[in-house]
């Protein structure tokens, strides 16, 4: 068929004989791999660009636009009431903040909540104390301030699971029908509050 040593001389006769004209469809097959790769490269470039956005890895809530889950939590020692879904429903438009004393980022965002609670137009913020030793939580709140209307102690994390919580801190926005309309994962910065949360609350208020 061709010499084993090969040569860079004239091409093999069989190749040189003019092949039958190849249909466009035939030629098209050869282009598919490079097109698939091009599409992938674009997607990779896009995903790479998003890496700086730490929220790109957040899990979207499965409960959006659904009624909030039923739950009933005990009070922290020293607080007179705990927290149930009825309490939140009764409060109309509100927010639920999942926090814990062992959580560093919670400590960072906590002043935002304390500040917000002082605003005259603030909606009630309910606290869900997640997988915490109650004494630690009460100490923490006494030291840093308590912005919450009511707090529920979710010691075993079950209520958190009902809400789809997978870490702390997380914040939910509830509308007047008791539906979850937004979930914010991670630290709530003042910018997040002003640019994302408060406009939404204003819209909910009508």
């Amino acid at each position: 068929m061709s010499d084993a040593t090969g040569s860079s001389g004239e091409p093999n006769r069989a190749d040189a004989a003019a092949p039958p004209p190849r249909s466009l469809l035939f030629r098209l097959r050869f282009v598919i791999p490079v097109l698939v790769f091009a599409a992938l490269a674009i997607i990779f470039a896009f995903q790479l660009g998003r890496q700086d956005d730490e929220h790109s890895r957040d899990l979207p809530s499965a409960l959006l636009d659904r009624p909030m889950p039923d739950f009933a939590l005990q009070a922290l020692p020293g607080w007179s009431v705990g927290l149930t879904d009825e309490d939140i429903r009764a409060a109309g438009i509100s927010m639920v903040n999942v926090f814990a004393s062992w959580c560093g980022p919670c400590r960072v965002e906590h002043p935002i909540w304390v500040e917000y609670a002082k605003q005259p137009d603030a909606v009630p913020v309910f606290g869900l104390n997640y997988k915490d030793a109650p004494e630690n939580a009460t100490d923490w709140l006494k030291k840093l301030g308590d912005p919450y209307k009511q707090i529920g102690a979710d010691q075993d994390g079950r209520a958190g699971i009902e809400w789809g919580v997978y870490g702390v801190p997380e914040t939910f926005v509830i509308d007047k029908e008791g539906r979850i309309v937004l979930k914010h994962v991670g630290v709530m910065t003042r910018e997040d509050l002003d640019k994302k949360i408060l406009p939404l609350i204003a819209k909910l208020k009508g």
């Binding site: 068929m1 040593t5 190749d15 050869f30 791999p33 992938l40 997607i43 995903q47 790479l48």
Partner: protein
């Protein structure tokens, strides 16, 4: 001193690589022998300089020079010496130097053993190798320099991740990289062929040994990693369809398809553009794997620390290399004309079908691995594609593939008699039916795994029967069979071993997943736990110090039917420098199964420790099967006919055995 030397050596290597890329390529286009000849000294130069850089880095680790940032980040003076060596490649920067070094080794091998390659082909192949090397050297120097100094130097380092301080994992990267980088060889050949505009059987014969070498090392590397995960991670699992695992599996699948396709291209001058495409894709998948692991685009336990800047560079390089080669393919491949034709029922036909199944299998893994990324990019939804998906989509494809693998060696080239083949393979069919019946009788339950084992029995017996057939065993006197054995080409033995090895490995995987049993609980000294027929008693539990860790070790007595069969010592280690824990499971291996004990955390409530017991049937067969596969591959590699440069010898052999030449349809 050594760090600066190493850094300078890398720069010089880059210069060599650039020379290697440009001058020979231009020389080939101009048919200028002098310029083409420059490839060899450039390759040697690159090898020398990269080796120097590698040696300098290794030296810095061995003497624990913590003024080198890379050493400070990944080593510690208390670390055992072996792991000081292997920490060189246990991190991103060092592993890139290893990558480039292996690339230089392969380049050197082409320069040394490619004596009878036509000069233009050789020049182009080396030029392409040089281009890849230059790309990675630039990446290394630009974004991942291992020789950056720290000032002031810390007193001690951060230690290497304890999980990586392990003999199995120490050698997993080099083996794996020999495989990944090895795929650059058929890639270079493919690009050179496309540039030249011709793919002839001789080209296919040159491509095969390199592909085989890459395949052998890749197989070994993947299985070593799997074995490590099995005994180290403490859950008794050996394959998790993790994206990084998949990133190594895909080039392997493509490489296997390439091996068989190149066979057809060589013997029958058919499937040429397909073989070229496979060669491009195999290496492209290797590169893609590199990107996925180091860019942060994927979440995986295996990934190196992510850095979008590095990711961007690699992506750019990918676009150039993969995009460029696929574009070249789209442009030049349509002109490649095959002259061999064959019937659908023939060895080529069977190989083509096997290729189809392997490539679709690879595509399945590809889709499953990348789907979360693609979906996230498109609409932000997050979805998980885990083992259940791959079990449902990939595994069913492998069943017909394994069935075909037993049959193909029986089939003649160009056109085969299917009835005849099935007749000769009746023993394998018996094994298939027998295995299914036996398993169903003893285990009952889902028929799927039973059929799977049946198919592996078919393949194993089929491979043996085909081998016996070659020796005309039991049909001619034993002495003659032995003479035939002596005259058998090594690649024939290699094929049988490789196929039989696949069967054994697959059986181990199927049984290990389908019929493993597990029990977990809390145990204090004196407590007993049962798993199936086995009883485990915890005798004692205590603390033991190690060189750079402290351990909690339990003595567990394993009993079956009241008799003590073994005493096992699972433990948990704590490495204070990194603050990490590892589980050292205790495994009792027998030919048919593993008994696996893993020690968990202490339970304050009861004062005991968490314990996990696993019984993993046939799992040792995975490692055995893999060893047999690699042996088969290496044996085939040593076949003199695969080493180009022996056409005279081959002709002489053919003259000696005219009878064999007549039976040419069976020769492989």
């Amino acid at each position: 001193m050594s760090a600066e030397l190493g850094h300078y050596a890398l720069i010089l290597a880059l210069v060599m690589a650039v020379v290697q890329t440009t001058l020979p390529m231009v020389g080939a286009a101009r048919r200028d022998a002098l310029w083409m000849g420059l490839a060899t000294p450039a390759v040697i130069g690159q090898f020398v300089f990269v080796s120097m850089a590698f040696a300098c880095l290794m030296h810095a680790y061995v003497v624990s020079d913590f003024s080198v940032m890379n050493v400070a980040a990944n080593s510690h003076s208390d670390k055992p010496l072996l792991y000081k060596f292997t920490a060189v490649w246990g991190n991103h920067e060092g592993s890139m130097v290893l990558w480039v070094w292996i690339l230089a080794v392969y380049g050197l091998a082409v320069a040394a053993f490619g004596g009878n390659l036509p000069p233009t082909l050789k020049a182009r192949v080396l030029a392409i190798q040089g281009f890849i090397g230059a790309g990675f050297l630039l990446f290394s120097l630009g974004t991942s320099d291992p020789f950056i100094r720290l000032d002031p130097a810390p007193i001690n380092g951060n230690d290497l991740n304890p999980l990586l301080q392990d003999p199995g994992l120490a050698f997993h990267p080099p083996l794996l990289y020999f495989g990944y980088v090895g795929m650059s060889m058929p890639f270079a050949f493919a690009i050179a062929a496309l540039i030249e505009g011709r793919v002839d059987p001789a080209w296919a014969r040159w491509v095969r040994p390199w592909t085989l070498l890459a395949w052998c090392t890749l197989t070994a590397g993947i299985v070593l990693g799997s074995w490590w995960a099995y005994y180290e991670l403490g859950w008794g699992g050996f394959w998790f369809w993790d994206p990084v695992e998949n990133a190594s599996f895909m080039p392997w699948l493509m490489g296997t398809a390439l091996l068989h396709s190149a066979l057809v291209a060589e013997k029958r001058d058919a499937l040429k553009s397909w073989t070229v495409l496979l060669a491009i894709l195999a290496f492209s998948l290797s590169l893609l794997g590199t990107f996925l692991v180091r860019s942060g685009v994927l979440t995986s336990v295996h990934s190196f620390a992510s850095d979008p800047a590095r990711g961007a560079y690699i992506l750019g390089f990918l676009v150039f290399v993969i995009g460029g080669s696929l574009a070249l393919y789209a442009w030049r491949a349509p002109a490649l004309k095959a002259t061999g034709t064959f019937k659908p029922i023939s060895r080529e036909g069977a190989l083509l079908l096997n290729n189809l199944l392997l490539v679709v299998g690879c595509a399945t893994v590809f889709v499953g691995t990348l789907y979360p990324i693609v979906l996230d990019a498109i609409d932000g939804s997050k979805v998980s594609v885990g083992p259940p998906f791959f079990d449902k989509t990939f595994v069913p494809l492998m069943a017909p593939a394994l069935l075909l693998t037993a049959m193909a060696p029986f089939m003649a080239w160009k056109r085969a008699d299917l009835g005849g083949v099935l007749q000769r393979i009746w023993l394998a069919a018996l094994a298939l039916a027998g295995a299914i019946a036996l398993i169903y009788a003893t285990h009952g339950g889902p028929i799927g795994p039973a059929i799977g084992i049946g198919i592996t029995a078919w393949l194993f017996v089929g491979a043996i029967v085909e081998f016996a057939d070659r020796l005309r065993l039991f049909r001619v006197p034993l002495a003659e069979s032995m003479k035939r054995l002596a005259g058998l080409p090594r690649s024939a033995i290699g094929t049988t071993l490789a196929h039989a090895g696949v069967a054994v490995l697959a059986a181990g995987c199927i049984a290990g997943s389908a019929w493993r049993t597990e029990t977990i609980g809390v145990m204090k000294p004196g407590d007993q736990a049962t798993l199936g027929d086995y009883t485990v008693t915890m005798a004692t539990i205590g603390e033991e110090p190690g060189p750079n860790y402290s351990a909690v070790v339990a003595e567990m007595r394993l009993m079956k039917d009241g008799e003590l069969i073994d005493v096992m010592y699972p433990s948990k280690r704590f490495y204070p420098v990194q603050g990490q824990q590892t589980t050292e499971a205790a495994i009792r291996t027998s030919f048919m199964s593993d008994f696996y004990i893993s020690l968990g955390d202490p339970d304050e409530a009861s004062g005991g420790h968490g314990v996990r017991l696993y019984h993993n049937p046939l799992v040792p067969w995975i490692w055995i099967g893999a060893v047999v596969m690699v042996l088969g591959g290496l044996l085939s590699l040593s076949d003199r006919r695969l080493r180009v440069g022996a056409p005279a010898r081959a002709r002489a052999r053919r003259a000696e055995r005219p009878a064999e030449a007549g039976a040419g349809s069976k020769a492989s």
